[in-house]
Structures are given as C-alpha cells and as structure tokens.
C-alpha cells in the first residue's frame, strides 16, 4: 500500500474522490507519522488526535452518504500556533499564553473546519512570530528535517518542517516579514504570503497588524493554490480584508507557462551577503525562465536598501501596542511578584510580563515603545512610514516594466542552532529579501530552486507580483517547479535524508 503521508493534498483529494482512501486512513497515517518523527523534529506544540479523527470520520460519513463535500475535505492540515482555534490551545510559542484555550476560531480556521479538513494540531514558531529560526519558541526549537542540527527557518519553522517531514501535506503559516517564505526556502517547501487583505487576519494573534498575513505552506505549488483558494477571500470581521474574489490561482498553476512573460531580477537583492550556493541556484532559475520564453530584465528598486531599517521600526511599534493586552488580567499566565503580600494589579501585570515574555519579545517591545514616544515618533515611526511609501512606489514602477519580480528568498541556507542567537542583527538579515513585500502589501511566493553546492541544503527562489496578482506567482512557480522536477527526476524533497522513525 502507498504511504499516504507521501501524497500531496491534490493526490489525496483525488484518492478520496475515487473512494480509494478514506479520510480516517489518511488522517491516521499522518498522526502515526507525527508520533514516529516529531520527537526529533518538534514541529508540533499540540496534536489533536481525537479532533482530527472526528473530523475525518464525519467527512467519510458525508461522502458515504452522498453529501457534497469540499474537494479537500479529509485532507489533514496543521495550523501555526498563532491562529486562534476554538477548544485547542493557542500559545503563539509564548509562556504568557500557556494554557489559554480560545473560545472562538480564527476565520481561516473556521473555513478549514467548514470545508472538513482535519486539523492535526498547532505548529511551533518563534515566540509571537519574532524570529527566523524558531529558536525563540518558549517551548524549544523545531529541527530542520534536512539536518536536525539546523534551524527550519522562522518564525513559521514548525509549519514548514511539518510539511517537509511528511507529518502533514498542508499547513497554514503567517508571514509578517518572511515567516512563511524563508522557512519554505530552507526546508525545500513552498510558502506563499498573499496580498495584504487577501486572507482574513481575524483570529490571527497580531504581531504587526499592518504587515501580518496568513498563507499556505505545502510541498507543491498546486497544493498551495488549492489551500489559498480555500482560505482566501473577503471577511467582514477584518476591516482590512479586500472585498474582491480570490485570484484564479488554481487555474494559473495548471497553466504553468512563462512564455512571453516579463520577469524582473531585483538588482538590490542577491549581491553581497548572499551565500554562493544561493546565488548559483538563483541564476539557474533565471536561466531556465529565459529558456522557457520569459523576457528577463534587471530592475532596480533603490528604496529596498532601507526596507530592513523601516521594518524594524514599524514592526516593534505595532507589536509593542498589540502585545500590551497580555497583562494576566483576563487570560494566560499570571505570576505574583516575589515578596509582595498583596500585590496590586500593576505589580501582577509587571511580574507576569517579565516572566511570560522571552528576551526577543521584550527587546522589540522596548524598541517599539521608544519609537512611538513623543518627541521620537516623527524621527522613527514617521520616517519609517515614509520609507514604506517609497518602497511601494518602487514596486509600482517595477511592475510597470515587468509582470513578476524574482530574487533569492533568503540570503543563506539553514544555519546551525545557536549561530545567530546572540546577534539579533544577523538574525534580522535573514528576512532582507522578504520584507519589502510585507511593507508594500504585495504577494510573494517561495518555491524550491535546488540545493546549495557547498552544504547540500535547500535554496528557494522568491517571486513577487502586484497586489491581487497572485495568479502570476502561481503560474511562474508552477513552471519553475515543473522544469526543475524534470531536471532532478522528482521533487526536491525526495533528496532529503530519511528521518529516523521512533516508536
């Protein structure tokens, strides 16, 4: 019998429709896989065996009874622990939310439930999505299935590793500055950050409200498109949600044709600071696109040089305000201060926040509080917003010239645990290529481009398109995926080492 965990979501959906496999079988197979490998990978913070199987059984019953169900009904999925799940713990990788069980579902989660996707569990992440390695998770890091001594990227390393380790075919991530795309690149998987407002943020615990966006984490471009179609679209509960149809991403994926497309290589992303193997695989992809009939040109986006600086003012500013609600008054961790017999509310707040937040979170709260202070606001937050406008203008100008922009997704392959932990700036640089898309609100996609020669680890290429033009991303990504699979004789992940199975 086929190993069900090696099937894509699309293949599982076909097998369900043909009555070759049941949702319970597929779900059980993935739960077994999690049990076998997750003690090493640690992609999950919480696994919901009963809930996932109950959903699968309901889907099987519905199909058996002839009830029309969503094509993806029964395909298991994992959800980043940043999204509120009714009845399931939601910690955001933080001690301060230990034990909190939301009384409501994020809109994305509600859509998954309505469509009948069994939710396997909640995936690990850097605390409140602050980090690029999952080393900032209060519950320990996730390990990269390609090399358990290395990081899986972050903040959504749990979702990417779970997909790469065949623990789930689908996962939902969130991307504030690259948290879907960079883990995708370093684990050899596909990650998509949709247009800002394309997927509801309702129930997504906010890091930086103006940057956050949920999106698909999968092994193939088609799976990403199928999931994107399901979770995208207008939500009246999110004021920033765009009231227009989801771009025709599935159709675009099936097209996979770049002939005649104008593709721009971003001059500012890809030079100094990028690992040789990353640059080599990027050049390969550009050559392939040319060969396939795309018109490839170099495009300059000069303001991108300031993106990282602007991002690290806007993000901490918004985060400092968003994280103020964690005060031990209504939910989550509550710590009594030492040596105070009858502590005041303020003292409890202070002690709980001191104990509940990790160092990186505190660092950013302090940065943001400072940047928003009167007298500094104009110089910091105000200037950063101006840079943001300039970056959006760079994108506008670039998209006058080309249909899609390309760059490496991340400057390096997966690094070893601890390598950048004591150097926040080095850690922040991981997101240098992914941040501009968040600042401008445009969509981005990372698709595997091969292995770096020097370390044999996965490399990703990033595609960027104008707002609501995700179809272009999926079209180009599907073409790249197909051309590379032909070269490699199969998907990149087939080259990953087998994980040790523990029972």
């Amino acid at each position: 019998m086929t190993d069900l965990t090696r099937l894509t979501a699309a293949a599982l959906a076909d097998a369900f429709a043909a009555r070759e496999v049941s949702a319970v079988e597929a779900t059980q197979a993935h739960l077994d896989r999690i049990a076998a490998v997750d003690s090493d990978v640690h992609a999950f913070l919480h696994v919901d065996v009963d809930g996932a199987l109950a959903t699968a059984r309901a889907v099987d019953d519905a199909r058996a009874g002839g009830t029309a169900v969503h094509p993806l009904a029964g395909v298991p999925i994992a959800v980043k622990d940043l999204l509120a799940t009714n009845g399931l713990p939601t910690t955001c990788g933080s001690k301060i939310l230990q034990g909190w069980i939301p009384p409501y579902d994020a809109t994305v989660v509600a859509r998954l439930k309505v469509a009948g996707l069994p939710i396997l569990g909640k995936t690990n992440m850097d605390e409140f999505a602050m980090g690029s390695s999952t080393e900032h998770s209060a519950y320990g890091p996730t390990r990269n299935p390609w090399d358990l001594g290395r990081i899986p990227g972050g903040s959504g390393g749990g979702s990417a590793a779970a997909v790469a380790a065949y623990e789930t075919p689908l996962a939902v991530g969130t991307d504030t500055g690259g948290s879907i795309r960079q883990p995708g690149a370093v684990t050899g998987t596909v990650g998509v950050k949709p247009t800002y407002g394309g997927v509801s943020r309702y129930g997504l615990v906010a890091l930086a409200s103006s940057l956050d966006q949920a999106g698909p984490v999968t092994r193939t471009v088609l799976d990403a498109a199928l999931l994107h179609q399901l979770i995208g679209g207008h939500d009246p509960l999110d004021s920033t949600s765009i009231d227009s149809p989801v771009p025709a991403v599935v159709e675009a994926t099936r097209r996979a044709d770049v002939s005649g497309m104008r593709i721009g290589v971003i001059a500012e992303l890809g030079g100094e600071g990028y690992q040789p193997g990353v640059r080599a695989r990027f050049d390969d992809v550009v050559a392939l696109l040319s060969k396939a009939g795309a018109d490839v040109v170099e495009v300059s986006c000069p303001s991108f040089d300031y993106a990282l600086a602007a991002y690290y003012l806007i993000l901490p500013s918004e985060a400092s305000s968003n994280l103020a609600k964690f005060d031990a008054m209504r939910y989550g961790l509550r710590v009594a201060p030492d040596g105070v017999e009858v502590p005041s509310a303020e003292e409890v707040m202070s002690a709980s926040r001191a104990a509940g937040f990790g160092d990186e979170v505190k660092r950013r709260i302090i940065l943001g509080t400072y940047a928003l202070s009167s007298g500094y606001y104009d110089a910091y937050y105000g200037s950063a917003q101006k840079v943001r406008t300039l970056i959006a203008r760079d994108f506008d100008a670039a998209f006058e010239e080309v249909d899609v922009l390309v760059s490496p997704t991340a400057p390096t392959t997966a690094f070893r645990f601890g390598d950048k932990l004591d150097d926040p700036l080095a850690m922040y640089l991981n997101d240098i290529a992914t941040i501009p898309a968040n600042l401008a609100g445009v969509p981005g996609l990372s698709v595997p481009s091969g292995l770096a020669d020097e370390d044999g680890l996965p490399v990703g290429v990033q595609l960027l398109a104008p707002a609501l033009a995700e179809d272009r991303l999926y079209n180009v990504a599907a073409a790249i995926e197909a051309m590379l699979a032909e070269q490699w004789g199969g998907p990149l992940l087939a080259q990953a080492p087998e994980l040790e199975v523990r029972t």
Binding site: L83, A84, T90, C92, L97, W100, P102, P103, Y104, A106, R201, Y202, G203, L204, V205, A206, A208, S209, S210, P236, L237, D238, S239, T240, S317, E318, S320, S321, A324, K325, F326, D327, M329, R330, Y331, V342, A345, E346, M349, T369, L372, S373, S374, Y377, Y381
Partner: protein, 500 residues
C-alpha cells in the same frame, strides 16, 4: 503646595483679582444598538460581563469593525455644533495600561478627529455666549472597575477589584471646547448652561440618552485663573466626572475659589486631575498630569480610514432638527410663555416633557404647571432626573383632560398624580380605584347640603339674608363630609336654591 492650608477665598473676592478661563470636555455615550467595534448589545444595566465577545474583551486575534451608525451619529453631533466634517480621518491607538481596558490601548482619534472647528451659542440671563468647539471625536468606552472592601469605593484601601466589561467598546463622542474666556463671574452658570445646552442638542438629534446620572453624558471641567489683565493662560486643573448640571456649576465655583486661595498664598497650581465630591462640594487631588504624558498615539492599523462622502454629510445635514435656540423660540411663541417661564422650564430640564404633554392635548400652562410642581417635586424627593419620573407626558395630559372635563378637581388631580406615580395604573384607573371622581349628582349632594344647613343655622341665616359670600363656609362643610369629591359649583347652586 497644598491647597487646604491656604486661607479660603470667596468666589466674589476671587473675581476681583482673577479672570477664570474654562475648558469643557464632555463625553457622550451614543445610543447605538451595538458597540463601536463589535455586535455586542449596549443596553444599560445588564448583569456584569454578559454583553461581551472576543472583540470587546480584546482577546488575542480579535479585530474591530467600525459601527457605521456610530459614525453617522458623530457626524450629526459635529454638524449640530457647526463643525467641519473631515473628508478623511483615522482612528488612533491611545496606549496605556489599566485593568478595565481590555487591550491596554483605547481605540480613539488623535490628530484627525471626525469633526473640528465648530461653535455653538448659549444664553445666560439674557446674554449670549459663543462657545468655540475645538473638536468632536470618536472613541470607545472602557470597562468599569468596582473596588471592593474600601470605605469610599475608590481604589485606595480596597481589598480587591472587579471589572465589568459590558461598557467596554460602547461608542463615545468626546466634545472639547476651546478655552472659554471672558465669562467672569458668570463662569459657573456659563459652564452649566453649556452642558445643559449640549444635552438638549444631543437629545434633539436622538443619538444619545444623555443621562448624566447613568453616565451616558460625563463632563470634565478644566479651569485656570490668571490675574486680570494678563493674556497668557494660567496652570489648569482638570476636574473629572462632574455628572450633574448643578455639580458643573458648583465645581467651577469651587475651583475658582480654590485656585485663588493657592495663588494668593504665593503658591503654584499643580497641573493635575481632581476628584469632585458631590456631597461636600469640594475637589480633591487626583493624578498629577503633565503635558508630556505619553500615550504613544499611532494610527490604528486594524481599521481603515473613515471617509464620509460629501453627499452623505449633506444628507445628514439636511436631516438635522432645528437648533435648540430656534426650536425654543418657536415653542415660546406657540405657548405664549414669558421669557421667565421659558427659563423656568429650561432650568428644570422639562422642555421636551412639556412639549410632549402639549402635543398630547394639554394646554401649555397646565403642562408647565404639573411638570414644574408635582413632578419636579417627585423627582427631587426621589433624587432622579425629571425624565425618569415614572409618568409619561401622555398620562399628564390625561389627568389634565379629566380636570378640564370636570370629572376631578385640582385637589383630586394631585391624588391622581400620587396614584400614577405609585404605580397604581393609568389616571383613569387611579380615579376608579381610589374613587376620586367628583360627585355632582343632586341626590347625593342634596342630603349633605341639608345637613350642612342644619348644622350651621347662623351661616344659613346670613345667606338667606342675601350675604351670598357666606356660602363658602357651607361649601367647605359639604366638601369635608364628601372628602373633597363634591362638585363645588353644583353645591353652591344647591345651597342658594334652598336659601335664596
């Protein structure tokens, strides 16, 4: 430094040397069915924490969505105050920690209010004052803390606190005046008249219940003094939560005296918030406040800008009721009231009640009489607002109708009021149940008249001799016997018929 050690200064004395400048900040709670950013009910008085959801509890991940009706109400208030309406404005986050604020930031407006640069006109003792409006902006209310175990209900000395989030997220409009200058000795009355005027104006718009005693209208009074002739502003105090018209007047008066005493003693006014004590009529020091207090405002990224179209604003402008001053002038003409009578009605807060009573069929003088006597007294005795008297304008008009039809007399009418106010039913029901209808039936009256004549032969003789004025004594005797229910006119006729 302290104000208590300074020698007291009388109000009149203070005004000889100092020129008061006021600033009023009034919060109006809108009467929308749902909260500012979620669908929760806004009904007052529900059990604690029953009107809450992930949004107004600030649960992680929940997001706000603006209540369009609240925007509409804000625009109406802005227009009624002759403000410019912003074609584009945003909400901002006001960041500070407090347990009754679920997100530890208040979604408010900062440098982009929906309405700004307006004015309104009030009158005190026949003199008009133009009050400049700085801004009217939208914000959400906080929850309510209840401090348990202390003596005063304040946080000091309390053993623990409870928080009710039902109020969190209820839409508020904050209306801020520019400094009100040149009001001198009239300052306390101007302050009161402004708040009363605002109350009437908002009530006329139908966008709030503006019940000060329930907190749906709350007033902060800023006050500073400067030596007469000086043009720069002195240091101000901000007296919070002055929640009745009378208190507004008293608080201004008190603060003028307090400031003068501090300044006279060569001391400086501390910029601070002050608590108003209704019972003792004084303010005490609250939180020290500096201009640099840092709320780290920034535009609310979870909401999109509010951009009311010109057409919408003009449509709302066209729907505005007539301004209170015009409305009042029209009522005065219709009712043929003197200026003094109008002032009495306004002062009692009974303008709308009288108007509704007239609309229900009562004569204006009669409507005024009942609201300013029986019903005002009831409100006073029960310490409630006159709007909260448990008797409707229709019922008042019904009592007057009974009087006009001769079915009851003035004295009986007061008993009908007592009955209705005591919850015994409608005026008709009270008359029936208490047996209050006037007796004009000759057979019932005749016996009583005969007995009165018999018991008072001297009086009867005088009447018989042509002194008809003496009939009053016999009428009184009949009335007494019939416990006030006799038709006095008919009794007089019967007496004269028998003796004349």
């Amino acid at each position: 430094m302290t104000t208590t050690s300074a020698d007291p200064v009388t109000f009149e004395d203070a005004l000889e040397r100092y020129d008061p400048v006021m600033g009023m900040e009034v919060h109006v709670e809108l009467n929308t069915a749902s909260k500012m950013f979620c669908g929760c009910s806004t009904v007052f008085g529900a059990d604690p924490n029953t009107q809450v959801c992930p949004v107004c509890l600030g649960l992680p991940g929940a997001l706000p969505v603006v209540n369009a009706r609240a925007i509409e109400s804000a625009i109406k208030i802005g227009l009624a105050l002759n403000c410019s309406i912003a074609p584009w404005c945003r909400f901002a986050r006001k960041n500070y920690f407090y347990p009754d604020m679920p997100k530890n930031f208040q979604t408010s407006q900062y440098d982009e209010p929906i309405a700004y640069s307006g004015w309104t006109e009030i009158e005190v003792d026949g003199v008009s004052y133009r009050i400049e409006i700085e801004r009217a902006h939208m914000e959400e209310d906080t929850g309510k803390s209840l401090h348990v175990g202390g003596a005063t209900g304040r946080i000091h000395g309390a053993s623990h606190s409870l928080v009710d989030y039902n109020r969190a997220g209820i839409p508020l409009i904050e209306i801020v005046t520019k400094p009100i200058e040149g009001t001198g000795a009239k300052s306390p009355e101007v302050a009161r008249a402004y708040v009363a005027h605002l109350r009437e104006l908002v009530l006329g718009l139908g966008v709030s219940d503006v019940r000060m005693e329930q907190g749906s209208m709350r007033c902060d009074v800023n006050l500073s003094l400067r030596p007469i002739g000086v043009t720069t502003l002195g240091t101000r105090s901000e007296t919070k939560n002055v929640n009745s018209l009378r208190s507004v007047e008293r608080a201004v008066r008190h603060e003028i005296g307090r400031h003068a005493a501090v300044l006279d003693g060569g001391n400086r006014i501390v910029q601070e918030t002050r608590h108003w004590h209704e019972d003792t009529g004084v303010t005490t020091a609250g939180r020290e406040k500096s201009d640099a207090e840092d709320y780290r405002y920034f535009p609310e990224p979870d909401l999109v800008p509010v951009a009311p179209s010109r057409e919408w604003v003009e449509a709302l402008r066209a729907q505005l009721p007539e301004p209170p001053s015009l409305h009042r002038a029209r009522l005065q003409a219709d009712w043929a009231f003197s200026d003094l009578e109008m002032r009495d009605v306004a002062g009692a807060g009974a303008m709308n009640l009288v108007a509704e009573t007239v609309a229900a069929g009562a004569a204006p003088q009669a409507a005024k009489k009942w609201w300013l006597s029986e019903l005002a007294r009831y409100a006073n005795e029960h310490d409630i607002a006159i709007d909260d008297v448990p008797m409707s304008p229709e019922q008042v008009a019904q009592v007057q109708g009974l009087l006009d039809a001769g079915r009851i007399n003035d004295k009986l009418a007061r008993q009908v009021f007592d009955g209705v106010l005591a919850g015994e039913g409608t005026p008709e029901e009270v008359v029936a149940r208490r047996g209050l209808e006037v007796v004009s039936d000759d057979s019932a009256l005749g016996d009583a008249v005969d007995r009165a004549i018999e018991a008072n032969p001297d009086v009867a003789a005088k009447i018989a001799a042509g002194k008809h004025a003496a009939a009053g004594a016999l009428i009184g005797a009949v009335m007494k016997e019939m416990r006030g229910r006799a038709d006095a006119g008919r009794v007089r006729e019967l007496i004269l018929a028998r003796l004349g």
